[in-house]
């Protein structure tokens, strides 16, 4: 309309420059406020903890650097077991949860037994505390046949898989239900059967919708594999316990805890990143 545009050399107007200046000033002010409040809070919190009467004793038994350094290799070795359990449990959960979700989505009276089974399963294992499932599987299954020795880590993997499959199945089912029915109708109209429609059209779209939720479940599972220590598997937590009992010191637990945090950190950040990206895509650049 104006000549500025017609020439192809558009520059922002006075009005826009004024607005940008205002926004820049406002954002500079918020950064400053954030900085000051963060520093104040950290100093106050640090002063409260370090200044408390028994800080030296607590530091000795929880944050002993010497013991931390000594126990580190042992606990790291234990963590390797956690990682292996995590790896196999993840694969098993993916398979079992998908089966459960598909079973629950089956329609028609013929499938009632499978549907009921899947529903009962998810109801049961979402309600049971992980620790109790670990005890039941870890001590119950070996009791069935005392001639066969199953490694405790394997039993732990089974227990974790049982629990997490129920959660993940529900997430997947929610995703499948979030795919618009018109997609299913379009697929069926082409002559695709129920199974192919599910596999080719519904599940790929469902997965996309629930990626952040699935990643969140994975982060949760990453730390819960530490619970297999209650069965006597020598993982990171159990290794820390062993060192702790010989040194009468709690530092090894802190070391193990930090390891789990470090393990989950990349996944947590990745989850945030993926969620933010998906939100952005759905907002199509809006600011609300």
């Amino acid at each position: 309309m104006t000549d500025r545009v017609a020439e192809g050399a558009w520059t922002p107007s006075e009005l826009e420059l004024e607005r940008r200046l205002h926004r820049r000033r406002a954002s500079r002010r918020s950064v400053l406020v954030a900085l000051v409040s963060t520093v104040l809070f950290t100093v106050a919190a640090g002063w409260l903890v370090v200044g408390s009467p028994n800080w030296d004793a607590v530091q000795q038994s929880f944050f002993n650097l010497e013991i931390a350094a000594d126990s580190f290799p042992r606990i790291l070795e234990g963590l390797w077991l956690n990682l292996r359990v995590l790896f196999f449990a993840t694969i098993a959960v993916a398979i079992v949860a998908t089966l459960l979700a598909v079973m629950r989505s089956l329609r028609g009276p013929v499938w009632f037994p499978l549907r009921a089974l899947a529903t009962g399963y998810t109801d049961l294992f979402r309600g049971l505390p992980v620790l109790i499932v670990l005890y039941l599987v870890g001590f119950g299954i070996p009791g069935l046949d005392t001639t066969v020795r199953i490694p405790v880590a394997v039993l732990g993997t089974i227990a974790i898989t049982l629990c997490y499959s129920a959660y993940v199945a529900e997430v997947l089912r929610a995703g499948m239900e979030a795919v618009h029915p018109s997609q299913r109708i379009a697929a069926r109209s082409l002559g695709l059967g129920h199974g192919e429609t599910l596999r080719i059209v519904v599940i790929p779209q469902a997965l996309r919708k629930v990626v952040p939720a699935l990643m969140n479940d994975f982060v949760s599972m990453q730390k819960d594999v530490g619970l297999i220590s209650v069965l006597g598997a020598v993982d990171a937590v159990r290794s820390a316990q062993i060192v702790s009992q010989t040194t009468y010191n709690f530092t090894p637990y802190v070391v193990a805890g930090l390891m789990f945090v470090a393990l989950s950190f990349p996944m947590i950040r990745l989850t945030d990143y993926v969620s933010a990206r998906m939100a952005k895509r759905e907002q199509i650049g809006g600011t609300v």
Binding site: S182, Q183, I185, A186, A187, R188, S189, L190, G191, L192, G193, E196, I200, V201, P204, Q205, R208
Partner: protein, 255 residues
């Protein structure tokens, strides 16, 4: 691209509905529909929203089960309980108001899916044919794109290509331009004209009266769940017999 008439009886029409009823609870939506579509015929169904046009389309495609009456596809009773619905649907091409392309698949994969998965066509053969059809209808540059990169008109053209990929005996077009802005309607309707020129058998529901008039062999006016009046475009538009038809046309022409 001619409709391959069923081997069962070459003389029978491609589609024949006999006294078809459909109820949703107490809502009697289709109240005894009789309708035939002969080979290479383009039949356009018009009527107000709620007159049963969409439900009619959905019953033919077996998305809704009829509550009475029979539907014959090239002489085969497709409302028989023992019929394999997937096989029937594979013989009918459907295009929807909202395109319903698969957003996670590229255009070419959308188009070739049924050929590969349902009709057992070799992937390369299907691909060549898909590319050929897309190029023919001006979509050659969009082959590798995902649907959300396309305009509404382009998406609907892709959806039509997807429906005709496997040479269906019958094409069902359910208000395929109703979700498009007026600028894009023309490109989609031109494609339908091409299909008619090639001899496709088409049953189409639409609100585009001028298009219905120029492309239809026969117009069917639906009212209250049954075809109230049918005839050539001239008969229906120039000289409608029923007062309901007259009223509907007066209203829709005045918009």
């Amino acid at each position: 691209m001619s409709a391959s008439s069923g081997a069962s009886s070459a003389a029978s029409p491609v589609l024949e509905l006999r006294d078809v009823h459909k109820l949703f609870g107490d809502n009697h939506v289709l109240r005894g529909v009789d309708l035939t579509v002969a080979g290479h015929e383009v039949v356009v169904v018009i009527g107000a929203s709620g007159s049963g046009k969409s439900t009619l389309m959905r019953t033919i495609n077996l998305i809704e089960r009829v509550d009475d009456g029979r539907i014959l596809l090239s002489g085969d009773d497709i409302t028989d309980p023992g019929v394999d619905v997937d096989k029937v649907r594979a013989r009918i091409g459907v295009v929807f108001q909202h395109f319903n392309l698969f957003p996670h698949m590229r255009v070419i994969d959308n188009v070739t899916l049924a050929a590969r998965r349902v009709h057992g066509v070799d992937a390369d053969v299907a691909r060549d044919r898909g590319i050929g059809l897309l190029e023919k209808f001006g979509l050659g540059e969009k082959i590798r794109d995902y649907p959300d990169r396309l305009s509404g008109g382009q998406q609907q053209r892709v959806a039509i290509v997807r429906a005709i990929m496997t040479d269906p005996e019958l094409l069902l077009l359910d208000e395929i331009t109703s979700a498009l802005d007026p600028m894009l309607v023309g490109e989609v309707l031109d494609l339908v004209r091409d299909l008619k020129a090639q001899g496709s058998t088409i049953l189409m529901a639409t609100h585009e009266m001028s298009f219905a008039r120029s492309v239809a062999d026969r117009i069917v006016f639906m009212h209250g769940g049954r075809p109230l009046e049918s005839g050539t475009p001239e008969q229906i538009f120039e000289n409608p017999q029923r007062p309901e038809t007259q009223e509907f046309l007066a209203r829709i022409m005045h918009r």
